[in-house]
Each structure stands twice: as structure tokens, then as C-alpha cells.
Symmetry: C2
Subunit: 117 residues, 2 copies
DNA sequence: CAGCATCCTGCGAGATACTG
DNA sequence: CAGTATCTCGCAGGATGCTG
């Protein structure tokens, strides 16, 4: 019963949305890309901007995105080491989707406010 | 060490993308909404359209979305029981985001094809 | 500053079998 | 047809502590 479970990383890969969703895995991922779409950012900046994310998770997501070719990691040779993350071309292609998500999010927020009133 | 872990269902809820992503939890969810955006569908139709999804998972996601108010579930009083799922107003609001995701997905597919060539 | 190591949890998901 | 039940795995994530 060894290989009982498929090693398929993204179950949705065969469906229309899957091509894109494969890059948005993880609850924090869209947020990271969104922040990076505003320009390069350093590790600690991301940590501050994304409320309540732990260093471990941020690192994991960052590494994952780097491996997928979505972001670029550039180590600055300064005395206190600083690392800059930025979107790659591939990453830039994802931003319209994220932008739409954000925009829908705002709409939903307004909607919720109206419903409460 | 009881309530060690926060019960927060969506860790991203405080971030800009979180408002929307809260409704897209689960790898299959965007796909379901996307299919439903084309019109109401029955359980078995969804199962067929979404390749390789198990009945259990589909049911779970459907129930979840219903609970969130994203979709509506209507039982048709026919002799072989049939159930129709459709997007609610809230669900309709999510479609722009899904559409963007799908569109980006197509673009990525082309990009990959070009890279392979 | 930018991480890594370790340990632990819950959820999404897959497989299979069964039901009103 | 439209589910439910049961079991299992793996991954994303949280907490805490340590390092070049």
C-alpha cells in the first residue's frame, strides 16, 4: 500500500482555474504576491506588512514561490544582511488575478457593512 | 495548553486579499464557483465536470459554500431525487475574481507552451 | 537582519464502501 | 441520484527557541 496517495501537488491542475491556483497555494500566498506587486520588499518589511505571519511560514512560502519562479530573491551584500524579494515576470502575470481578488474583497467588505447597518 | 491555537478560520482575514480568499478556501472551491457561474448545475453534473473529485469532497465544499451563503441548494421533488446548485448574489460577486484567475491561467498555459517550444 | 530547527495541530483531500 | 461513513495521508500553519 505504498504509493496509495497520488503525489499530485495540485489537484486542480487539470481544471481551468488550476493553472493559476497552483501558484496561489497557501492562505498567505496571494497576500505576499500582492505586497510584492507594489515593488520589491525585504523580509522584515513583509513580516510587518502581513499581520501575524510567523517567520517560518513566511520563509516557507517565499522559498516555495521562488522555486516556482514567481518571485526573485536577491541578497544584498550589506553588513547587516538584507534580502530583497521581488516579482519575476511570471509573478507579474499573476497580479491581475490578485487585483481582482482584492477588488472583490473590498466590495464584499462594503456589502457586509451595509448588511450590518 | 487548551486554546493554544487560535480558532481563526481564515488567517488572512485581516489582510486585503483575505476578505475574498475566505470564500475560496480549498483547492476545488474556485472551480465549483466557476462552473456554477455558467448556470445552475446538479450534483452529478458537477461531479462529471470537475475531473477526479470525490463525492465526499464535493459534498463538503458544497455544504461549506452553502453555509457561507455563496451558493444556493434547491432540492427538486422528482422521483429520482435531484438537487440543483446555483450561485447566490454573494456568489455572483466572486465571479470577477474567478474569471481573472481563469484568464491568468490561460495566459500561463500559453506561456508554458511557448517556453517548451 | 534573515532566517533555520523542532514540535505540534487542523483541514483539505483521496479511497472505498454503503444508503434513502 | 445524491449523498453519508470511515480511515488515512500530507500540507499549511502556529509557537518557541536558536544562529550566521
Amino acid at each position: 500500500m505504498a504509493l496509495k496517495y497520488r503525489k499530485n501537488k495540485s489537484p486542480v491542475a487539470l481544471c481551468p482555474v488550476g493553472e493559476c491556483m497552483a501558484f496561489l497555494r497557501g492562505a498567505w500566498t496571494p497576500n505576499i504576491i500582492w505586497l510584492l506587486s507594489g515593488g520589491p520588499r525585504r523580509f522584515s518589511e513583509l513580516r510587518k506588512d502581513i499581520t501575524n505571519i510567523s517567520a517560518k511560514v513566511l520563509t516557507t512560502r517565499l522559498r516555495n514561490l521562488e522555486e516556482l519562479g514567481v518571485i526573485r530573491r536577491q541578497v544584498m551584500p550589506t553588513s547587516p544582511p538584507s534580502v530583497e524579494y521581488s516579482l519575476s515576470d511570471l509573478g507579474e502575470e499573476l497580479t491581475p488575478a490578485i487585483a481582482a481578488i482584492v477588488s472583490v474583497g473590498h466590495r464584499l467588505k462594503k456589502r457586509a457593512a451595509k448588511a450590518a447597518a
